[in-house]
């Protein structure tokens, strides 16, 4: 079997039995990247030398019988928002275009400890602000289903890399949907773990109360394997939760929903949702019922205010977090001619270094936090956040998990919403509530929309620290649909075949 078509679980087994070496697996993926990434543009940096060195080290350890981590020899693509010693970290921004961070993110360290091969850094919307990768300073990534479509965002490079078989696994971050939305539109699996379940140390901050690292995979089990490898308490992150990692891998293998209480969120459907998406979602719900789940409808009346609350909270945090890009200690410096003072240099640097969406959000955040507007905007949004958490609490009093479509539409065209911020923001309509509440959610493919033939994602949401329930439900859906389709959904992606 072609190495790049194998799942991470299959690669782990083949590597463990020495059927293949880590070097062969890594080289196969580097070859695939060389063959297709000029069309997909999933990667900002390809780490060929360091990846092959890591792979050789894994092969060496295996040959001498030394202990190996859970992902030993498996390539992983890492979103370019995680700091990596020896590799650039740009966040898709001109302001960090030449930055080589002096330390590794906790997630980077954990990947290395697990023996994963960091094969490259993936494209993203600048500072993780966007739903399409069109806000990257280095050009958009392309959806492997149709290269004229967006791969989602902000972790669109990571999703596209996995969907294009350039890596079996990838890491992203989810602040308003930036893992689940690209997973949905690329026809793969993506998880936003419980906030505080995966470390933010070394993740360049966008909105600190929301940013959550998480996994992408082509199968539910693969996502679970990566989820488990990167998760757990980190004393370097003051919002890290000191609790055991939920048993996500066991849950993905269990794949059983009999007796599980599932709530359909009625507020996440209707106007603005593509008919082809709603049809596949309704079928997925019927499928879950046929597998023995008890399905009821649940209303979360404040979810309709989640999008406006998010676009006050996230930009407010961003306007504060991005103040660190001051042209003094690292990153771009523009206009330092010996005559201008520090403030002028700062303003010229930020003007040249930030793209339009980042500027919009910094200014929006500054507005929402201004004295005189604070109570009406940021303060009110924080109260709405409480009401959304209460909606979830009430719902999880009645059901074990909630379900909705992952996105209101399938992948839209590159350029279609690029200069229409409000239209772009709607892509995260279904994913934002879980970010505001800090609970766990996954997107799993549930078919192709009849209206355009593009992938549709089913979102499953679970209470904080009950991430294992996501995998139980997603794995059950995946297994039942694979039986129905006779092949993985992704085998129908034809964007790279012409």
């Amino acid at each position: 079997m072609e190495l790049t078509r194998m799942t991470a679980a299959e690669l782990i087994a083949a590597l463990a039995s020495s059927e293949v070496s880590a070097t062969e697996v890594t080289q196969a993926h580097l070859d695939r990247i060389a063959a297709v990434d000029d069309r997909v543009h999933a990667f900002l940096h390809i780490a060929a030398d360091s990846a092959l060195a890591q792979a050789a080290a894994v092969d060496q350890r295996r040959s001498t019988g030394e202990p190996l981590g859970s992902l030993a020899g498996v390539p992983v693509a890492v979103k370019d928002v995680f700091t990596t010693v020896g590799l650039p970290t740009t966040c898709g921004s001109r302001i960090l275009a030449d930055w080589h961070p002096p330390y590794d993110a906790t997630i980077t360290q954990r990947l290395k400890q697990a023996g994963a091969i960091i094969i490259g850094k993936t494209n993203m919307d600048e500072f993780a602000m966007g739903s399409s990768t069109e806000n990257s300073a280095f050009g958009p990534s392309h959806n492997p289903w149709d290269l004229a479509k967006i791969p989602g965002g902000s972790s669109g490079g990571s999703a596209a890399a996995v969907a294009a078989y350039e890596a079996p696994l990838a890491i992203g971050t989810d602040t308003g949907g930036s893992i689940r939305q690209p997973a949905a539109v690329c026809g793969i699996v993506g998880t936003k773990p419980t906030y505080g379940g995966s470390s933010r140390y070394g993740v360049v901050a966008f909105a600190s109360s929301l940013d959550t690292p998480g996994p992408f995979g082509r199968t539910v089990l693969d996502a679970a394997l990566l989820h488990e490898a990167i998760s757990g308490y980190d004393p370097m992150d003051s919002t890290s939760i000191d609790a055991p990692v939920p048993p996500v891998v066991a849950a993905a293998r269990q794949a059983d929903v009999s007796g599980l209480r599932i709530g359909v969120v009625t507020d996440l459907s209707g106007d603005g949702y593509q008919p082809g998406v709603l049809t596949r979602f309704a079928e997925a719900v019927e499928l879950l019922e046929s597998l023995g789940a008890k399905v009821t409808e649940v209303s979360c009346p404040h979810f309709k205010y989640a999008l406006p609350a998010y676009y006050l909270i996230a930009p407010s945090e961003a306007s504060s977090n991005l103040a660190r890009f001051d042209a003094m200690r690292y990153g771009l410096r523009v206009g330092d001619d010996g005559r201008r003072d520090a403030e002028e240099v700062m303003a010229l640097t930020r003007e040249a270094g930030f793209g339009a969406e980042v500027k919009r959000r910094i200014i929006l955040g500054a507005y929402a936090l201004s004295s005189g507007y604070y109570d009406a905007y940021y303060g009110k949004a924080q109260q709405v956040r409480t009401l959304i958490i209460r909606d979830f609490d009430a719902a999880f009093g009645q059901v074990d998990v909630l379900v909705s479509p992952s996105t209101p539409t399938t992948a839209f065209g590159i350029g279609e919403r690029a200069d229409n911020p409000m239209a772009m923001y709607l892509a995260d309509l279904c994913t934002i509530p879980s970010d505001l509440a800090g609970n766990a959610a996954i997107s799993v493919p549930c078919g192709l929309a009849a209206d355009d033939g593009l992938p549709v994602g089913l979102q499953v949401m679970a209470p904080a620290l009950a991430d294992d329930r996501l995998y139980r439900v997603a794995a059950a859906v995946e297994a039942a649909l694979a039986g129905r389709w006779g092949q993985p959904l992704l085998s129908q992606a034809k964007g790279l075949e012409s």
Partner: protein, 97 residues
């Protein structure tokens, strides 16, 4: 109209972004549209509802104060735009007079 072009220019100055006139012309109406949309939160009755700044409920998180290895001066300065005498070299921060 919740936000004017002049207000956007003022916020950009506060945010240390030297926006061009063309950008201001483009951004101001977009921000006006966004603020009109997010102002929907004001419809919600939230009398007596406490604000949530983050969802974990953790407070006052400290690490033990233990010495441990850290970046060397060379590493810390390695990404600086300008360095002099093992320090970050920055443009002047005070006026000429």
């Amino acid at each position: 109209m919740p936000i004017t072009r002049d207000e956007v220019a003022h916020l950009a100055r506060l945010s240390r972004i030297a926006l061009s006139d063309a950008e201001l012309d483009h951004l101001a109406p977009q921000l006006d549209q966004i603020i009109t949309a997010v102002a929907q939160v004001q419809e919600v009755t939230a009398e007596g509802i406490p604000p949530t700044s983050h969802a974990t409920g953790l407070t006052n998180v400290f690490r033990d104060d233990e010495p441990r290895p850290c970046l060397t001066p060379g590493q810390a300065l390695s990404q600086a735009p300008a360095v002099e005498q093992q320090r970050f070299k920055v443009p002047r921060i005070l006026g000429e007079d």
